[in-house]
Subunit: 422 residues, 2 copies
Amino acid sequence: MAGISRRRLFGLGAAGVAAAGAGTLAVRSLQGEEAGPTTATAAGSGTESAAVPFYGEHQAGIVTPAQDRLHFVAFDVTTRDRAELVELLQEWTAAAARMTQGQEAGALGAVGGLPEAPPDDTGEALGLPASGLTLTVGFGPSLFDDRFGLAGRRPQALADLPKFPGEALLPEISGGDLCVQACAHDPQVAVHAIRNLARIGFGRVSVRYSQLGFGRTSSTSRSQATPRNLMGFKDGTANLKLEDTAMLREHLWAAPEDGAAWMAGGSYLVTRKIRMHIETWDRTSLTEQEAIFGRNKGEGAALGMAKEFDEPDFAKRGPDGQPLIADIAHVRLAHPSSHGGARMLRRGYNFVDGSDGLGRLDAGLFFIAYQRDPRRQFVPVQLALARQDVLNEYIKHVSSGLFAVPPGVRDAGDYWGRGLFG
Amino acid sequence: MAGISRRRLFGLGAAGVAAAGAGTLAVRSLQGEEAGPTTATAAGSGTESAAVPFYGEHQAGIVTPAQDRLHFVAFDVTTRDRAELVELLQEWTAAAARMTQGQEAGALGAVGGLPEAPPDDTGEALGLPASGLTLTVGFGPSLFDDRFGLAGRRPQALADLPKFPGEALLPEISGGDLCVQACAHDPQVAVHAIRNLARIGFGRVSVRYSQLGFGRTSSTSRSQATPRNLMGFKDGTANLKLEDTAMLREHLWAAPEDGAAWMAGGSYLVTRKIRMHIETWDRTSLTEQEAIFGRNKGEGAALGMAKEFDEPDFAKRGPDGQPLIADIAHVRLAHPSSHGGARMLRRGYNFVDGSDGLGRLDAGLFFIAYQRDPRRQFVPVQLALARQDVLNEYIKHVSSGLFAVPPGVRDAGDYWGRGLFG
C-alpha cells in the first residue's frame, strides 16, 4: 500500500471497479460494489443493525417497527424539466436500495472512484451496518401545480389542510414538493442517507427544511413497548400496529376505489412540528398533568383504569359526580370513539433543537402520522384537539406538512413514483 | 388500582415514601426511591445500558469510553447569592448521583410525589436504563468575577482564549458561567438529565445555550474503533486513551503543582462548535480531500503509510520531490510532534441542527477537548490550524467555551466544586 498518493488511489479505484457486481454486503465496504437486485441481508428488525427490505408492496418506514432515530427532509424541486425530475427519482431509488442494505450511495463509493472526481458517497457511514435504515418518499400538494403536468393527477385525499385554531406555522419549515423520511437505529446512518440524497439531487432539488428526531414516540408493533414523549407520558397507546392487517387495510393504505389509482398501496403523511413549553409543563402539578392527558403518568392507564391497554371508560364518574376523564382531556378528544372510529398510524419523534435564546429548551414532538385519507382522519381529530384540548396551553404547532406517499418499489426496474410519472 | 384519581395518587405517594431507602435500582422505577450512597449497579461500559460509577477521583465523562450521544448545556448564573449557588451545586450533585445510576432526579419521582405539587422528575426516562449516562460539570471564566468572591481563585490555566484567525463566534452560543456535559447511549436519557438539572436550577440559573450531538467523533479507549466525522474521515486517531495512565497524568489531569489546588484531579475543557460546509466538501475530489487531511479516506492511514495507527512519516516525499503529507495538511499541523508533544483528550460529537434556510445542512463538529492546560495544548494547536490549515475553507468556528472541570465527587457528603466554595 506504500507509494505515492495518486498511484495508490488509482490502484484502489481499479480494485473497486473489478469488484463491481460481486454481491450485497451487510456492512458498507471500503470499496464500491454494485447492489444486487434483492435484499440479501434483510433480516427484519430482530437486531438493531440488520437491514430492512427495500422492495415491496408498500414503502418501508411506515409499518416497519419504529426505529429510534429520524432525519426528515423536505425538498423544493428547482428544475422545471419533468424528465430531469423523473431521472432524479430513479437515481434516488437506486441509491436508497443500496443504502438501506448497508451499502454506499453510489457504486464507486467514497474511496473507489476516480481520484480527480468527488466521491460517490460521502463516507461518514463507512463501516457502519444498515442499522434498520428505511427511506420513505412523499409528494407534496405543490408538486401537482402546472410545472410537471401533474395537476390532473392530484389525489382528492391530498386536499390542503384547513387552518387550525391556535397554530403558528412558519412557512419556511412547512410544506415541500418532496419529502424523505429517513429512520434508523443510528443517527449517523439516517443523516448520511439524507445527505447523499441531497447531494445526488444537487441542481434539481434544494433542501427546504430538515429535522432530526430521537426516541420514537409511538410503537407500530405489538413487539414494542409504548415509549414516553417529552411530557413524560406514554404516547400512542391506541396506535395502529403492523399486526392489525384488517385495520391497516381500512385505515392506512390507499385503495384503488379511493381514486388516484397510482396511489393504491400508498398512504398519506401528515407532519406537524409541535413545540412544547417544557418549563411551564414541568411546573404543573402531577394531578393537573394527569387530568390534562386523562391518563396516569406511571402506568399510562386511562384514569379510573388499572393498565395501559385497558379501554378507557369515558362514562365513569368520581364521587363528586364529575367524569373521571374530563370532557376536554386529551385521551377523550383524540380517541377513535370520538371520531367515528378514525385511526392513524403515528410514527413521531421527540426533538430538541438546543435552546431558544430565552433560557428555554427548544423541544417537543415531531408528529408523523400515516393514514388512508387525512380528510377523515387527521383533520377531524386535530380540529377537535385544537378547539378544546387543555394541552394547547403547553404546546404550539409551528410547522405542517402533507404528502402523498406512493406504494412501494417492486423491484430494481421500478422507481419511486413510477405510477405517477410513468 | 381502580378508584378516583387522587386517592390512587395519594396511595402511590405513600408507597413511594415507604419504599424510600430500600436501595438502588438499575432501571428508573415508577416510584421514587432514595439513592444509596454507593453506585451499586455500576458495571463499567460493558453494555450500553449499564451505569457508570458517579463517585471517584475524577469526574466521569472524561476518560469514560465515549458514549454515542451528547447533550451539552451552558448556564448563566442568575442569582448573586453565593450560598444559593452552593446549594444549587449540592442539589445538582445529588440529582446527578441518582440519574447516572438509572434513578429519577428526585426522591419523590415523577408519580410518587404530592399530587398537588409538580413531579420531582420530568418522567420521560421512566423505565429506561442508566444507558451509560455521565454528567460532567465545569466552571467558566465569567464565574470568577466579583459576584461570588471567587476572583482570587481563578486558575491561571483558565486564561481567556485568544482570538483565532477566521473564527466567527456567536456570543449567544459561546461562554457560560457553568456547563454540564451529559453523555449517554440513549439521547432520551441525556436530554432528560439536562432538563432536570435546568428544572432544579430554576430561579438560580438559566440556560444560555445547549447542543445535541451524536456519533462520537473520537475514541477514548483502545477498546473503541476510531469513528468518522461528517467529512467521512476517521478522526482522533492520535487521541489520548484511558489506558495511557502516564500520558493522562502528563497531559490531562491538573496537578497540585499547577497552582489552584482545588483543581487537582480536574481538567480544562474547551468546546468549539465547528460548522462544516458540507455541500462544498461533497463536491471536492477525493484526491483533494485526502491531501487536505493528509490521510486516506478508507483506512484512515497517513498518506504514504498502510494502516491507521502507523505513525505518519512527515519526511517522506513522492517522485515529484514534494512531501507526501503537505506542510499544511491537517494531520501534520495537528500532530503532537508539531507542538512539542502537546496532546489532548478529544471527545467531540457530530451535530446536525436541521438546515440553514439556504438549502444547506446546518451540520458539523461539536469539538470537545480536555487537557491539563489549554495555554500549552489547545491554544498553540488551534493557532497553527487557524493560520494554515487548508481545511479552513470548509469549516467555520461559530462558538467557543472554556471551563475548569473540577475533580470528582468523592462520596455522598461531597459535591461538585466543594474545593472551590468550601
